[in-house]
Structure formats: C-alpha cells, structure tokens
Amino acid sequence: MSLLTLENLSRSFGGLRAVDGLSFAVEPGQVLGLVGPNGSGKTTALNLITGNLRADSGRVIFAGRDIARSAPHSIARAGIARTFQLVRVMASMSIAENVAVGAIFGAAPCAPAEAMRRAPALLARIGLEGRGAEPAGKLTYIDQKRLELARALAAQPRLLLLDEWLAGLNPTELEEGIALIRSIAADGVTIIMVEHVMSAIRALCGRIVVMNAGQRIAEGTPDAALSDPAVIAAYLGDDDA
C-alpha cells in the first residue's frame, strides 16, 4: 500500500488554480522528486499535504487515512515532518531547544528533558555538533537549513517533506547534503523533495513527478520524465496556459 496518495487535489486562490486535480502516490521508503517551473504549484502541494492550506476538493490519504481536512498539528503527529522554503527557526531559542521542540511534539512525543538529551546526537548528524547552546537566530542561512532538518528528524517522521532544502548550497555542501538525505532514506524515512537542483534529483530520486500550472504533466524516472516533450515545453515556456 502507498504511504501517501493524493487524489484529484485542487486549490484555487481567487481565479488562479494553484493546484488543479493533482494525483500521485509515494511508496514507503521511496524518495520522490517534485519538480516543475516556478509557480507550478509545488509548494502549494506541500502546504496542502501538511495542512497549512486547506484543499478545495480532493483527498490526501496518509497511511490509509484521509488527512485533507486535518489540522497541521495532527498531520505532524501522524508522522509527516517538513522544512520550509524560506527557512524558519525559532530564533531566540537555543539550537538544541529548536531540535527538542521537534521531539517533544512530533510523531513519537517525549518529555522535554528526554528531548534535550536526544538533541546532541541529531545535531552531530546534521553537522552542528557541540553548538546546541547557541541561539538559533545567530546561525548562518545554511546552518539554519540544517537546523530545520534536525528539527524535522527529531519528530521521527515516516514521511519527510523537503522544500528546496538543497537550494543555495555550494558544491561541497551539496555533496554532503545529498549524502545526508540518502542516509535518512536508508533509515526507512519516505521523502518527497521539491527541488530545482537536477543533479541532486538524479542522484537521489527513483521517481519524479513533474508539475506545471498546478497539474501533473509527467511522471517516471528522472531521465524519462525530464525528456518528456510536455516537460521540455513547460520549461522552455512555449506552453503557457
């Protein structure tokens, strides 16, 4: 059974159909890439899955349950964690406390003291070893992205949604980032990643879904889907709907 299934999901803003009858499924353990030109509705799709936006119609089935009308917090508790396209850390809390918040309220909730004990191991994993006491707001942009991922992992999610998490990394950081995502997937976490860095998509994703104007226009292995004529047209922009 698929871990997550989107069925005919739609959401409009005024006259704009940001997500328009979108359907796809993710199997457990898969790393799915969600790609498409800017404004094609990828982030809106993530916001619909996590309950940040409410769908006008359609269903989101996660682990056998329709969560399309659920509140963000109950979706998070059901086992979906996310990072944000524009980094969001809790700036005046310490780095370790940021991670602890993920553990305290996530899919496997634990007591605050226990969460603080678990934080250092997670920080080590994402490359912020020994910096737990510093305020999160002082971190560089890239390190804040790392912290967001640690917070998401602390929740022990079954499904992890990454919204352009690799954007803005230099080549070395990109290598490390890809290795990190691969190791998370190896732990059995299913991942949906919205991404523009095609080399990373090719390296990580067995399957991708390509979106344009709110709709799925292609699906398959990265190589097959990206060479689809509809995809090429969408990226070149002569298919403006």
Binding site: R88, S92, P109, R151, A155
Partner: protein
C-alpha cells in the same frame, strides 16, 4: 534564574510576609494586601500574555466573576468549595472567550477582552434587577482581613509554583514555540489553539480565585465595584513595567506602582483616573524596555 534559587526565594519571601503579619497595623496590612493581590493578578496575567504576546484587557472580568461567586455562594456552601467554584467559573468563561478568538489574529482577542468586563457587568446588573430585585449584595462570610492576607500569600505562592511548573512542562514549551513562530509550532505537532486556551483558562482561574478571596473586604458589592475596569488597567501597567517575559518580572512593577497608586488615591482621589492614565502613557513611551519583553516579537 535557576529553579532551586527561584523556589527558595518564593518560599523565603512568603515566609517573611507571614512572619511580619502580627506586627502590622491596619494601614500596612492593607497596603501589603494590595501588593499581594496585584502580584497574584499581574503574575497570572503575564503567565498567559508573556509567552503568547496576546494583550488581555479582561482581568477585571475574571476578578469580578470571582467576587460575585463569593457574593452568591459564600453563605450557601463551605468556603473551600466557593474558591473552587470561582476557579472553575473563571476557567470556563476564559475557555469560551479563548475558543472563539484565539484561533484568529490577536486583535480580535484584544477587542473581545476589552469589552468583556462591561458585558458581564451589564449582564449581572440585568440579572440582579430582573431576578433578585437588587442592585448589589452584602457579603457576610466569616473571613477577616488577616485571613485574606494569608490566603493571598498562598495564592501568590500557588501562581509562582504554577508558572514554574508550566515553564518546564510540555505546555510551556508549546507556548514558547508559539511565541517564536506559530507556523513552525503548528507543523511541529503543537495544537496551538488548545495550548493558548489552556493557559488562558489557567490564568483566568487564578484571577477569579483572587477576586473571590478579596470579595469579603468590601462587605457590600455591586457590579460596578466588582467589574471595575481600573483593575484590568492597573494589572496591565504593572506587568508591562516589570516585564512579562519572566516569571518574576511583574512583581518588579507591582511593588512600586501599588505604593504609588496608594499615594495618588489618598492625595488626589478626584484626579486618580487622569494620573493613572498618565503613568500608563509614561510606561508605554518612556520604558519601552519594560514593555519590550512583550512587544519584542509582536502578536
């Protein structure tokens, strides 16, 4: 401030208040009762408004509900039950207000709380006239000023213990996260509305119990006395001056302002409201650092 020192300090100060009581004349006892009452109220106020940055203007509403609980039930049931009832009534009314406004932007909450004391005052006045045929009621319960003094010490200790416990609990963590970034908090699995409503109810039930404790001081209460908006106002200034971000912040504002207001009330009874407003404006404009804890991030 770390926990053992904080708890020891609370216990020591409470002990000192208890020890000096036999040596107090009526004037000093009355001043200290005022300070204790405002300490409990302002700390309870900051308990909710500090971390969430929602400005509540409804202190008088909950205080008055507590006072009226004593007036209605004081002779009908044992005193401990009366205080318990006050706590429950305050919490229930706060939950209703919270559930209808705390899902929305902060300004709706402010507006609702701004009118709440007036709403309840009018409802009580209406109900008393319609069903009781009275304007006010006498509070005849065997509670002396000294009893009130000691109960207020207990209330202060309780509110500090509550605040200390909340800070370390999941609820406290949830509220800190909400204060930092509500969207992140939501997606981390925090039921934001539930956390806010819970804490608002806790804070309101403390205020109601304080009102219930204070009611016998007046012997006669009517809705205008019990739901006096000045109470909301004073609590707000004290907490803002002291700083609402820390548990011990509000006390720092309570002590100087309670004494100042006592002096103003005694010397300029007719101009009290003007002076109060002026002091408040001075706090807002000249001590933004005191206000800063609350306003740092906005709500």
């Amino acid at each position: 401030m770390n926990s053992p020192i904080f708890l020891a300090a609370v216990a020591a100060i409470a002990g000192a208040f208890a020890l000096v009581q036999p040596h107090l004349g009526p004037f000093w006892q009355s001043l200290l009762i005022n300070i204790l009452m405002y300490t409990a109220l302002a700390t309870a106020w900051a308990l909710f408004s500090g971390p969430t940055r929602y400005v509540s203007l409804a202190t008088a509403a909950f205080f008055g509900l507590g006072a009226y609980t004593m007036a209605f039930l004081g002779e009908a049931m044992p005193l401990p039950m009366v205080y318990l009832s006050a706590a429950v009534i305050g919490a229930v009314v706060a939950a209703i207000v919270g559930l209808s406004t705390l899902r929305l932007s902060g300004v709706y909450f402010v507006i609702f709380t701004f009118g709440l004391a007036e709403l309840i005052r009018q409802l009580v006045t209406w109900a008393e006239a319609k069903f009781g045929g009275t304007v006010g009621r006498f509070v005849f319960v065997p509670v002396s000023p000294t009893d009130i003094y000691f109960m207020l010490i207990a209330a202060c200790v309780a509110v500090f213990a509550l605040g200390w416990w909340v800070q370390r609990s999941r609820l406290g963590w949830a509220l800190r996260a909400i204060g930092e970034d509500e969207t992140v908090a939501r997606h981390a699995g925090i039921d934001v509305t539930r956390a806010k409503v819970l804490l608002f109810s806790l804070s309101a039930s403390v205020m109601s119990v304080v009102g219930c404790i204070m009611a016998p001081r007046w012997t006669y209460i009517d809705a205008t006395i019990a739901f006096n908006p000045i109470i909301s106002f004073q609590v707000l200034i004290m907490a803002l001056l002291g700083g609402a971000a820390r548990l011990y912040g509000p006390v720092l504002g309570v002590v100087p302002l309670a004494i100042l207001f006592e002096l103003l009330q005694a010397n300029f009874p007719n101009h009290f409201s003007i002076l109060l407003g002026a002091v408040f404006l001075a706090v807002v404009y000249l001590v933004p650092r005191g206000v800063a804890g609350l306003l740092e991030k906005r709500r």
